[in-house]
């Protein structure tokens, strides 16, 4: 089945871990994930500057590995991202910021990507809190 995920929670929330587990298990079961759309505080997943404690599960790294393995489309909402300091090179230039932090595995894009995922996928599952 074609699935998409909408993640509204930050990496620090257990909801984000549930979302990752869901995605991983779904892929292993042979489902396809059309897109993972990070919205609201979910956009914090896009920061490449996250450092996990040595004895802690590295959720961002786990997403990266999943992305590598399955060529996942990981999209963070551009408007929600900019508000929270999640910024790629293009936007850093546009807003004249000296730094950018969006991880290579993520892409900044508009809400149209959420709508597209909603329409294209057979199921959309939201994770928040």
């Amino acid at each position: 089945m074609i699935l998409s995920l909408a993640i509204h929670s930050p990496p620090s929330s257990q909801a984000s871990y549930s979302a990752y587990q869901f995605a991983k298990v779904a892929l292993i079961q042979g489902h396809s994930i059309y897109r993972v759309f990070f919205y609201h505080n979910g956009v914090y997943h896009g920061s490449d500057l996250t450092c996990s404690g040595q004895d802690e599960f590295d959720l961002i790294d786990a997403w990266k590995q999943l992305q590598n393995e399955y060529q996942l489309d990981l999209v963070a909402c551009i408007a929600a991202g900019l508000k929270r300091g999640i910024i790629d090179t293009t936007e850093a230039e546009r807003y004249e910021k000296d730094h950018h932090n969006l991880g290579n595995h993520f892409e900044l894009s508009g809400l149209g990507q959420l709508v597209d995922a909603t329409v294209t996928s057979e199921r959309l599952i939201s994770f928040g809190g």
Binding site: L3, F22, H31, E122, R123, S126, G128
Partner: protein, 100 residues
């Protein structure tokens, strides 16, 4: 056309009325899946426990385990499931609504 809904609830029924809101929209054929802090809903002591009678309910077992709830008195009507079943359920029900 009437679709079946898998409701996911990740809030403790002791802290707010998220579960009650969910129950308000539940109809026959739906399912409720408790995860994260929603796992506290599996306790027999939770205020809305009696409202789960005759409803199809699931709880993620590792969420119960993580919270030390497996030794507590649990609502026997709630099925303990893993993430594999969570994924399976979300494809079996027509729509997923997340209550958070």
């Amino acid at each position: 056309m009437k679709h079946s809904i898998l409701h996911t609830v990740n809030q403790s029924p002791f802290s707010n009325n998220t579960l009650l809101q969910c129950l308000n929209t539940y109809t026959d054929g739906d399912g409720i899946l408790f995860l994260e802090n929603g796992a506290y809903a599996a306790l027999l002591s939770q205020p809305a426990s009696h409202l789960l009678e005759n409803k199809t309910c699931y709880v993620i077992e590792v969420d119960l385990h993580a919270r030390g709830l497996l030794e507590q008195e649990l609502n026997a009507d709630i099925q303990l499931i893993n993430y594999e079943t969570f994924v399976q359920l979300s494809t079996e029900y027509d729509v997923v609504q997340s209550w958070y």
